[in-house]
Symmetry: C2
Subunit: 353 residues, 2 copies
DNA sequence: GTGCACAGTGCAACCGTTTGCACCACCGCC
DNA sequence: GGCGGTGGTGCAAACGGTTGCACTGTGCAC
């Protein structure tokens, strides 16, 4: 290839150019920039001056190849998912990741994906081509085989949401979905509600299953029956909530006096559906949402919502990942973070009969 | 360094391992994977089988070093900025970037930053260490010197928001802020309003200046006077809008009958401030927001808002960048994208005196 | 039968760093 | 004055790919 570099656009100075100018060996320049090595003050000075004059900074890619580390962690984002903006999940998760990567001098590599299966493809691609030192995988629909496949690839990995089956080796962070939902329902029960509906979203979703479990637990503990039509999966959008109103009120005398919705968008749909039927919130019916999205505060009435610590989950995941990378191992264990119910005006005691 | 690789964790197969197994030269393996080279079907088959058996995928870093391309574009995000989540700007911009990078087989490298000056530091760091093939710079407070400094670094660059002074060489995409605001004000004038307030946000921000210019233009064209107290910069948050109500209504008889707010959060503040003074929207006063955030639809009344095409801007920027990279040049020219006024319930004719 | 084009593969230099080891000079100690 | 220790630097082999060029063999035209 001989003179491959000749005539190349944007030819930038290398460590050799600096070395030549400072009249030292390239390795000395490397040592000056990497820091951890004994260099005499005079030599250091000369090298830094030469570097300054040439506007030199060491090439990160070459460095990565040599040290076998990229100082980067990765995340795959389903960029076509409609709710991406509406939902707080990804933006907040990313903010947490970004804050921690930043403070450790790392960067965040983002890949898009178009579907669940594509998500796995993209993740495996990043892992196998070694584009990042570690990866956080945020899919709540991982199956056992996929986790195993991910595990087979070497790089450090942490899951957002706990793994499906017993996978003692894989690290994860998660929100206390089940306990949080149980507490929400217990709160509604304390207010006096006895007929409480669960409006869930995609039932294949692990998070949805956990929430439902928490709901059932609270109802059972309180000795309250659960009627089948109180549980509605709808889907994760406003219309899901809207439709749920119709489905849960087929028999008005046994209709719920309170609704728990798996996200705020569905809660918006519930509010609209209830309003159209002339039901007042919270006097006739209470509504609780999830995620505490920005709009929760601006709804009428202001929405009581379960704040899920997405940002903190991102931060914790990045922390686990980077620590493991720096220690040369794999992240281990897990972190379970608490959600917090933000009580506003959409919840109150049920109407007295 | 001799046998540096010995005993290394997560030892992965290289192109040489595959070559050995397939009994061909490493360069042949490279050619099979890079695609653009004539390889006999039999050889290709053997190589692919060997690669499969070893679970081989070419190392992206090594490839990047060799071909001098990373297949990555970068963005620096102020991750500590409070409004990051509330505002649609960054998430939507990123969604646009992600969609286009994805469809071209690129990835998006994200860096955090803590302040405006840090943002420049991070951008320069990414550029000078060659961590990405190109970068999109989303700062609306760039000064001439900074743009010059960015230009001095070689890699392809596109600005979100046009550059401050006459910088014919730098590529950018922007929203038609001035024209869009002018049209909003013209719309209010057509409804019959003659006293219209401008609630802006940070006056150092280029976008804010442009919007103000559009406002003045519309008022001037219609031959309407502008009173000084109708213009309020407040700041880019709900409280900014709330405070603006007090400041613009010191003389009730000359108070505005319509407000244009630089973002939806300020519009929320306006709505609250007006409500507290017993003013009805839109019967007494009209309000227009900006960004068409998710909550705009859920406010009471539903907010008329100027939808700014952030996602499209991100997509356009990525498109320009990647095209330039692939052609081996620098992005040129600019794209000016139109905003769109989404009319809802917060605007109407002014009250008749 | 010779010449030629071209498909297919190997060779080796190169991308820009890092780092183990060798080496040298100097210092202080006995 | 010899000698061990050490601070500072150079040497060269990695890291894992890519690619210009050389070379071989085959098919085809003349």
């Amino acid at each position: 290839m001989a003179t491959r570099n000749n005539g190349r656009r944007g030819n930038r100075p290398t460590i050799r150019d600096v070395a030549a100018r400072a009249r030292v060996h390239p390795s000395t320049v490397s040592r000056v920039f990497s820091g951890h090595a004994q260099i005499s003050p005079r030599t250091r000075q000369r090298v830094l001056e030469a570097a300054q004059a040439l506007n030199f900074r060491p090439n990160a890619i070459a460095r990565s190849l040599s040290v076998q580390r990229t100082q980067t962690i990765a995340l795959v984002v389903p960029h076509v998912f409609e709710g991406y903006f509406q939902d707080a999940f990804f933006p907040q998760l990313m903010a947490g990741l970004l804050a921690v990567t930043y403070s450790h001098g790392y960067r965040l590599l983002l890949g898009g994906c178009e579907s669940y299966s594509d998500e796995i493809v993209q993740i495996l691609d990043i892992l196998r081509t070694r584009q990042a030192d570690g990866i956080v995988v945020a899919s709540s629909r991982l199956d056992v085989d996929t986790v195993g496949e991910l595990q087979r690839q070497a790089p450090p990995l942490v899951l957002i949401g706990h793994p499906p089956a017993h996978h003692p080796d894989v690290a994860w962070v998660d929100a206390d979905n089940q306990a949080a939902t149980r507490e929400v329902v217990e709160y509604l029960i304390r207010l006096g509600h006895r007929r409480i509906a669960y409006v869930g979203g995609d039932p294949d979703n692990t998070v949805v299953k956990e929430r439902l479990e928490g709901y059932r637990e609270a109802m059972a503990r309180a000795g309250l029956p659960v009627e089948a039509h109180w549980i509605d999966y709808g889907y994760f959008a406003e219309d899901g909530g809207y439709q749920a109103v119709a489905r849960t009120r087929v028999k008005p005398e046994r209709a719920p006096t309170a609704y728990y919705a798996g996200n705020d968008l569905m809660a918006v749909g519930l509010l609209r559906g209830l309003r159209e039927r002339g039901l007042r919130v919270p006097q006739d019916v209470s509504v609780v949402g999830t995620n505490d999205s920005p709009e929760a505060r601006h709804l009428t009435p202001e929405l009581t919502s379960l704040r899920v610590p997405y940002r903190e989950m991102g931060a914790a995941a990045a922390e686990m990942l980077i620590q493991a990378i720096q220690e040369g191992g794999r992240p281990r264990g897990h972190r379970l973070l608490s959600s917090k119910l933000v009580i506003r005006a959409s919840t109150g005691p049920p109407p007295r009969r």
